[in-house]
Subunit: 346 residues, 3 copies
Amino acid sequence: MFEDTDRRNFLAGGAGLICTLAGHKILAGDRGVDVDALAAQVPVPPKVAAASSRALPLPGQQPAGPGGQRREYWIQAERVHWNIVPSRIDQMMDKRIPGHWKFTAWAYRQYTPNFAAPMGPATIPGPLLQGQTNDQLVVNFRNKLKTPVTMHPHGIFYAEAMDGSYKGRFTDPGGFVRPGATTQYVWDCKPGTEGAWPYHDHGPMDPMGVFKGLFGAIIIRKPEDKVPDLEVPLFLHDFIPPATGLSANISCINGRAYTGNTPTIQAKVGQDVALHVFGVDNNFHTFHVHGHRWTNEAGKVVDNATLGPGDSLTVRFTEDNPGRWLYHCHVFTHLHMGMSGWYVVS
Amino acid sequence: MFEDTDRRNFLAGGAGLICTLAGHKILAGDRGVDVDALAAQVPVPPKVAAASSRALPLPGQQPAGPGGQRREYWIQAERVHWNIVPSRIDQMMDKRIPGHWKFTAWAYRQYTPNFAAPMGPATIPGPLLQGQTNDQLVVNFRNKLKTPVTMHPHGIFYAEAMDGSYKGRFTDPGGFVRPGATTQYVWDCKPGTEGAWPYHDHGPMDPMGVFKGLFGAIIIRKPEDKVPDLEVPLFLHDFIPPATGLSANISCINGRAYTGNTPTIQAKVGQDVALHVFGVDNNFHTFHVHGHRWTNEAGKVVDNATLGPGDSLTVRFTEDNPGRWLYHCHVFTHLHMGMSGWYVVS
Amino acid sequence: MFEDTDRRNFLAGGAGLICTLAGHKILAGDRGVDVDALAAQVPVPPKVAAASSRALPLPGQQPAGPGGQRREYWIQAERVHWNIVPSRIDQMMDKRIPGHWKFTAWAYRQYTPNFAAPMGPATIPGPLLQGQTNDQLVVNFRNKLKTPVTMHPHGIFYAEAMDGSYKGRFTDPGGFVRPGATTQYVWDCKPGTEGAWPYHDHGPMDPMGVFKGLFGAIIIRKPEDKVPDLEVPLFLHDFIPPATGLSANISCINGRAYTGNTPTIQAKVGQDVALHVFGVDNNFHTFHVHGHRWTNEAGKVVDNATLGPGDSLTVRFTEDNPGRWLYHCHVFTHLHMGMSGWYVVS
């Protein structure tokens, strides 16, 4: 038996506590926390309650910037049966991955206007949102989960009410989108917001939504920017037992683990390649690509770079080296817990 | 029972060991290590013993640089009753923080010349030290604790004897300031030292002094540099059970934990805002501000940045977005263990 | 007894699992994993089997770039009796380091042409490889261990077959150099590869080779680049119980732990000093030098910098401050588990 004293000592080191939800401590080893039940204990914030009978805000209530366009998205948070290791194989190590790696994830899914029909399946990461300088992104967000969740964007400009964050009694309606409810986020691609950014749930059950799959990418470009020939968002993250109900942590890229399950990126010599890498778990990572290097924002040539939770890293190079390469987190343990993939150049 | 073998295995992973003081292993789960008793077992280094009867060095024994000034501080390390969560509330999650979060911290406190009278209470972080290029900072430091401690500065120029570090038999008097003793540190704001830097204890009981609250900031500017309209040093750190005697780790900003207890920063639209962020624990952090972004030193626009122990990060932007925003470490577990605060713009 | 449930919970947090080798989980607390026995269970990849009877590739089969030279090395991986704390003393804390810190490490060792004779002992880090733009590094690599290992370089240009990485069924002969076998790596110092880079084992037992000492540095310069007056590669790494068989983790620089055992760097005022710092374990580190600062690649003056696994950091400054200084990782626990050294300036 793991005695209380030792258990307390162990936890005191901080290794065990993930967060506290509705007064309930979530520990690293908890399996399958009932987030919905905990969410039901969170009071509806006053501004959310007051807004509860409001209709969906009218689209277009704010102008886009000069020369910009209004780009409207219809995105729903929903449950999805998710298989982290569909092939049951790690091609890098040529080995079977034993165990059971399926769970009910939460994911963002894109729909046609007015949520008429889904545009493909729910994905991890969620739909890619894109705009140019001065565009306005209008995201109609519907929550089909049983827990209040949100979309909180990085990098892009937004007014306080469009923050998509739970803030206790100060929470705006977009920071606590109740089960079944719809809200509208209006975000502006103001000059100076160009870049690749993550968005993610930041609702009252944060970070459980993120650990269940609620994250995606925003790319904002200047109109004159060259669009890469090949562009891949890569989210480095853990699926942890409290979120998955599975028996162990697993290190993932875009919701999958182990080479051959994570994205196999196909490129051609001569292409302008951009890999947008995001950290969305509790860990720090380094991103490494075999046989390649790139110039970082400070002008240094590197083939490996550190990124932490919430960070964005764009790796961009002109492809010059054919072959089957590995890209991976260079934290050895993350690499061997699944955080690697193929980058195949023909 | 946590058997010896397993305990050893667990500790072998390095998760449990904080440091070794006077031959005594300090583990993450130890509560309230008697640092004073351990300190008493450390022999007085020879250069310290030889200097023990020396009077306080004469002020002004070194000239400041051309055009610079001598800026003299009187700082004492002392005990202070400290409440990490004075409101007992986390406003971000609108929840009570149960438990007991008071302990006897160690803090630097500023005094009027010759330690005539305290200039306000002891604070965490300690007094802000400031200078301009070519200035000389003269810090008269008195230790009212029962353990030898020091002030070790980053960034600024100093001669070997002014290092403020314990170095075993090579220790200078400023690296082992005995209980009751006073020393004088002379540090030079030479050209090339401009920036925001931490200072902290680096005495024979390092890192316990830091984990008990002994750290602060130095800001050095060029005479022609614009002073920000609003400038806040923010120290990201843990208070750990061996240092506090409390039952768990708690993630802090400037000695406080949870939104509403950590600094609530008040800004106005149009202000030139600088947040100087420092890492002073064993962890890596990312610093994120909602609704804002800034240009990092490499010219990249970011809204989130990684920093590690001993690192300094200056976030500077012209305020353009009114509202009540969160700033926080984006390591989810740190965020939910207290490392967040309000940034309120009117 | 550490019950299964709790053990699973503890491991679920990811704190315990290092990697999986031949289907066998390697935990942080395992002591002295028999890597050779596990390696024997890994099937020989098809391209390696097909190449097994091939002779050593002919040297010089690829031209170096315009104006470049062919630089040939003869390097062997072999066992070496290694003492992590030869002095049994930590000079920084002026204390004895109890316990037993010797183990059988794996190291790269340089030989004269055709492996005629060793050029000194096997070292951790391994031999420094150097080239100028357009040079070609030809590394004849022989494996005298009982486990297949490799040399995988960072930064330098190489064709797919020269990657030195195990990639399951896609593995090239250089990615699985069998016990007793020799291979030849041909790597090109193409324009744009200038810098300081790590190389390391990336064979089928990765990361155990790295954790046992198989890493070293490559420095590539432009012909017109000034060579520093003093240049030291510093590898920040852990020796962990599964790799060493020792009872605890120990934080090392260049295979040694604690001040006086790690490199004591001797410099002179006026020298152009370059410290090339590499991260080669599972941890993130910050590198700090007392009494000194440098300009990072973004043009910011710093005295402390973060680096992660696989990262390279070059600290370069003109020496201006005599004395006995500490350089160390500023993660306090790493510092106090051995990751510090003397930097002595006369």
